[in-house]
Each structure stands twice: as C-alpha cells, then as structure tokens.
Subunit: 418 residues, 2 copies
C-alpha cells in the first residue's frame, strides 16, 4: 500500500551533515521508502497521506545499550557508590523478573515509554530469566520495535539469589534461543554480563555458540578502573580487557561493547580491526562517575560508535535527552583537553543517536529508498518564535527542548506505532 508523509524532512546522511527538505514528502510502499520529494509527483497524488503540516520529520532513535529489568529503578540510588548501587538496587530489581507476571506488567509499560520517546530500534540486556526475556521480546515485537535482546549470562561473582550455575546457564540459553524463533524483528543476542560474571567455561561455550549459529554478542568493556583491575586479576594472561572476550571468540564483527571509557589506543585499534562497535553511554558514565569516554578520538580512528541510554545507570530513557547529554559530555572533554578537542555538534550527536545505530542494523544513514521507515515527527509549534526560525535552527532547538509530548508520531519498521 502507498502512503505519503508530509512535513519538514531532516536527516543526517553522513556524520556531521544535515539534509533538509522544506515541506517535503516521504513516499512509502508497504512501509518501505520509495522516495523523498520536494513536490509530490503526479503518480502518488492519490496515495493516502499523513500530513504533519509544519512539523519536523526526522529519523527515529536507536538505543543500543540498556538494561530493561532496571527500568523500575530509573532515577534511583544515584548517590550510592557502584557496588552498593548494584547490591541495593540493581541485582534485587533484576531478580524480581523471575516472576513472569511482574515482567509482563513492567515490560508492557517500559516498551510504551520507549515508543513515547521515539526509540524504534534497540539492543538491550534482559535479566538472566528465560521466561521474562521471552516476555520482553514479545512486548517489543508486538509494539513494532526492532533489534536485539539478550538473556544475561552470569554464573559467577553474582549474588546467591541472582545467579545461575554454568549448566543452568547453558541449558537456559538454548531454551531461550529455541523460544526466540517465533519472533521476526526482535532477535536474540548473546550477552555475557561482563567478564567478571562469566566463568571461562561459560565464555568458551558462548563463543562456540556465537560461531556455530552466527549470533551477535553484546557486553561491557572498560567502564571503570576498578573493573579493569578486576578483569586483569581474573585473566592475568590478557594484557587488555578486550582480549578476555577475544580469546573465547566473542570479539568479532558486529559485537557491541558498552562504555569503552578507558579503552586505550590498542583496544580501540582492536575494535576497528574486528568491526566491534562501541556504545557510548554519556549519562550513565557521569552518574556513576565512571569517566569520560574518548568519543571524538574513537570516531577519528574509525571505531564505530553508537549511543545507549544505559538505564538505570543512565537516568534518561528518552534518546533526545541522551543525545543532549552526549553533546554535554563532549564539551566536558573539550574543557578537559584545554579546549583542543572539538565537541560534538548537534547534527553529529544526532547522527550517533539515529543513523549510526541504523547502520549497525545494516541500513544506510538517513531516509534511503528501499529501507523501511524509522521516523519520528516533532511538533515544535508551541515553542516561541517557530515561524521566524530556519529549519536547521528549529531542528537544533528541538533536540534540546522536545520531550515525549512533542513527539507527535513514531514510525517503526514502516508502521505508525504512535
């Protein structure tokens, strides 16, 4: 079926650029983009249209690292040191997802909040529970989102009430993969929580599985100094953190690594060489006082970088807030460097929060013919002076000021989902 979206179209076809079509049209055929037009061609005049008038149509967001079962603790425990935070809140909250009824209630709400904020593609951690992970995947798929969800693997250095034996972990992972076959757009991703919480046996088994079934992998890397020292203790044969994933076959093209705050030149080179993507989580890195990730450096060295809300270390689920915080973090890096490092512009950070994630999923950046539409419609009409601004000014302001109530419509995978 043909459909036409009308409005002001803005997108980043490449990192740092911004393309603008003043009062243009996006034509869809069965949810896939047919073309972008300044004037609607005659042959599409009879198509059904979603006319958004003077609103802004921009790509939707990709949240590439977040912990779904930490949603109930969003904004809580922010004064606690990392270990107390994990023990008082995180593990306790995650362990409640042993109860499928609780999982259903929370995940249903959580998925609605994602859509409200304009996120349509995700890579997320679930808890270690197979059933709750299935419920999460089902809620995401039914709501029209796309991406990866991982049942967390953790068979050591975890609290008694929230851990699995190596055997359980393997068995449940296989059961989860089997049950995930029923989903189309939400696919499984292997998810060792991080090196300290997985035995060598489990890591090796996950690496073999990743290879056998061609499954993607996500985990955490070089988030804080204490963690890095701990990993070094556990794997004295590994010079750097990334090697603990590499030695088990988990460091490969398409692997996602959250944080990479302290990834040095060697580790960054290994990311680029293997096609491992860094997920920058600015708000979380600040809230937990982890450190300032060298995003500009990674980008200039050719390391793929995407963004993550990392709730509940991050306290912001809306990706526009995450994009803003990414800019702020880059300005802090600029200050820290004695004003020698460039900060990320609005267009650059927006690219990282939208198109860079889309590229991870195999799409080309921007609104490209042949691709399914992932877009949000931002209504900035209630803001001051909208009539007197350029579209580029309105776009920049929208990134700073728009909240879910200004997100008038969301399209995920070609379908309108808000």
């Amino acid at each position: 079926m043909l459909r036409v979206l009308k409005g002001n179209i803005l997108f980043a076809p490449a990192f740092g650029s911004l393309e603008v079509i003043d009062h243009g049209c996006i034509v869809l055929q069965d949810g896939k983009i047919t073309g972008l037009f300044k004037e609607l061609p005659e042959r599409f005049q009879s198509a059904e249209s979603d006319d958004f008038g003077d609103a802004l149509i921009v790509p939707s967001f990709c949240d590439m690292h977040l912990h779904a079962p930490q949603y109930p603790m969003l904004g809580m425990g922010m004064d606690l040191p990392l270990l107390d935070w994990l023990n008082t809140y995180t593990f306790k909250t995650e362990s409640r997802f042993a109860d499928p009824e609780y999982a259903r209630k929370i995940y249903h709400e959580f998925v609605q909040k994602l859509i409200d904020g304009g996120t349509t593609r995700v890579c997320m951690f679930s808890s270690l529970h197979t059933d709750a992970t299935g419920i999460l995947m089902e809620e995401l798929e039914q709501a029209g989102l796309c991406g990866y969800v991982g049942k967390v693997s953790m068979d050591r250095n975890s609290p008694d009430y929230y851990s699995e034996t190596t055997e359980e972990s393997k068995r449940e992972t296989l059961r989860w993969l089997k049950e995930s076959e029923r989903f189309q757009n939400i696919r499984p991703i292997l998810t060792p929580r991080f090196t300290p919480s997985c035995s060598d046996d489990l890591m090796a088994w996950l690496g073999d599985l990743a290879k056998e079934r061609n499954l993607p992998v996500q985990s955490h890397l070089s988030e804080n100094r204490g963690e890095i020292a701990w990993v070094k203790e556990l794997h004295p044969d590994c010079e750097r953190y990334w090697e603990t994933y590499h030695k088990y076959g988990l460091w490969k093209n398409g692997t996602l690594m959250a944080h990479c705050v302290y990834s040095d030149e060697t580790e960054r080179k290994a990311m680029r060489d293997y096609g491992v993507t860094a997920v920058h989580c600015a708000d979380s890195n600040i809230n937990i006082a982890s450190g300032l990730a060298p995003v500009r450096q990674m980008l200039s060295e050719g390391v793929p970088v995407v963004l993550g809300s990392d709730i509940a270390g991050g306290a912001q689920l809306n990706m526009l807030d995450v994009i803003q915080m990414t800019i702020r973090m880059s300005k802090i890096k600029r200050i820290e460097s004695g004003w020698t490092t460039d900060f990320l512009t609005v267009a650059e950070a927006f690219y990282l929060g939208t198109s860079a994630g889309a590229e991870y999923f195999g799409d080309r950046p921007g609104f490209v013919p042949g691709q399914s539409l992932h877009a949000v419609v931002l209504d900035d009409s209630a803001f001051t002076e909208t009539k007197n601004l350029t579209l580029k000014e309105r776009f920049e302001r929208a990134v700073y000021l728009c909240k879910p109530q200004q997100i008038k419509a969301v399209y995920g995978n070609g379908k309108r989902i808000k």
Copy 2:
C-alpha cells in the same frame, strides 16, 4: 485565613540533610506557615484544606541567575563559539525587547513557564530597556513570584544597535528605579552586565547608587579564561577580577556573582569575607564549555552558593533539571579530581536549588513557622512501583524524573499560583 496542605512533606533544613513527614500537614495563616504536623491538631480541623494525598510537598525553587530576554533563544546556537553565539543570537534577541509589545508577549509566556517548572523566587537580568524591564517586573509580580530583576547596564564594548551611552544609562536607571516603586515583591537589583561592558564612570556611579539607596547588585564573575584576561587588560591595577567590582563599591554583602568558575582561593576568600554569593550555573558552564566550577570547594570554605538556570547559556529552565545537572557536574569534578572530591548528593543539590536561595532572600531553610509558603507538589503516582518505595527514594527519583506535568501545584509567597 487558615489553610491546611496535606501530603508527604520533605525539605532540607540544612545542607545535606533531609527531613521527612509521612502524610503530614502544613498549616498556613494568611499564607504564612503556622506549623508542620504529623497529625492535624483539633484546633485546625475546620480549616479549608488542599489535600494532595500521597504526593510530595517540597520547597519550591529559586532561580538565582537567568537572562529573561534570552528566553526566545532557549536551546539555540549551542554549536557556536561564545562570541559568535553572543553576536548571532544573544544581543540580537535581547535588542528586540525595545518593543514593549514583544516584551509583553514573550514575558507573559516566560513567567508561566517559570511557574510551571516550580520556580517562585528569582534573581534575573532583564535587557537594557527600561520599559521592557518594567513589563517583566509587572508580569512576575502579577503572577505571584518574588525576587529581584535588573535592568542591564552596558555602555561600552557592546554592539551599536544594543548599547547605551553613559548618560543614557544613568538616566534610564533612575527612571527604572522610580517606576519600580509600584512593585511589592519584585524589587530592583543593580546589574552591570559584566566589567568589560561598563565604563569606569558608570561602574563608580552604580556603586554610589548601591550605597545611597541600599540596593543589591548582581553581575558575572570569572566565567571563562578569555574574559578574565580581558578584564585584566581593562583594569591592570586589579590583581583579580573581583577587585574590579570592589573598587567601585559593587562588591558587598548580598552581591550575587554568576559562575565563579575560575575564582581562585583569594577570590573565594573575598566572597566569603564580604558575604558575596556565588551563583553556580552548571548547564550553562557545560554548554558554553566555560569550565567546571569548584562548588564543593566553595561550600567547604564558607562561600554561599545558590543555583541558576542561566538561560539561554543554560538550555534548561526547569530547576529540577538544573539541580540534576548540578549533581552531574559535581560527578565530573569527582572524576577530574581522581575520585578524591565528593560529588553533591541529591539532597545537597536540592538544598542549593531551594533553601540556599531562600536564605539569600532572608528566609531560614525548609518550611519554617512565620515564613510565607514557597512550595511545589510533585505527583509521582504515575511512576513505576511508587507504593513500594520509601519517601526518601521517591524524593530522589522525583528530582531525576519529574517534569512540569508532574508539578501538580505551586505555592509562591503563600498563595497557590499553579
């Protein structure tokens, strides 16, 4: 008239502490607090009541540094270097307030946004226009806010289209003071924009006026390195920036100085010794990449510190967002210090954004009998798991998650204004 507010009462009676009354009452007599009670005494049972059920009643916010005529450019020009930002946006936007009709329209909306976000006390910069400044004061007063507004003085180093001669500046300042006599709760504050934009003649005249009429003073101090070097060039006799205010009698008890990012030990000592208050503006300092103010240091040395949104260098008008950013900034300071400096806890930053400002205006911190009520009511009932949390947890989460739509009621100077 007697009135009773019912709800969960939380406030900071001192920096770092948090007092909680689970389902308590605040009794008001003609807008002034008579007492706080866990159980409402018999003698007040017949009073009219505002029953907020399970919501949180907390002190309202004091925004102690912001530029009202920059409201139309909120969230814009964030990619520009400071000087381009000033020339492309700031001065042009402020100069539009020469038109009283424009001023009326914008300031009316602006004041509503302040109240929506729970701000009831302010110290703000207007533009250099006397008439627009009167309109701003009128809008604030009519809406029920309290505090200070300053017509900006700037007779040099300013663009042709937005500057005044020394004579004009003096004459207009006197006219503004005369016209301000009609206001009760919004009072004038002398406002040299900053040292570089005021001639020595004007500074000396303002200093005399401040003394003669016992008027408070606000300005900017040590915001960025370029500015400090410029001030040094203009006043080679002054070892440090603060002395350029001191030599004209503008550095005195009650003076407010925005930023103080680079105030060294000597300058901080001068603040403490003279009773000069620092207004910390975290979001603005990050957005403009000014630097990281030593807030914890100032506090430990006894310098009074309050918070400001500093729109439009700051992109956040809501003080809950400003309080959050203050916490984040303090965590960045912690990282920068090699994890030796404590960050600001939620309760500490909340104190700075509420009670510390109230103290500047002569109130004691918290809800104190005899004082007019300044309070906001936060409705967190739509958040997850509210029933299972302690009030302290709900309070901390509210600071991170509440937006204007969760601010159910606002009391300014004893009256309900939202």
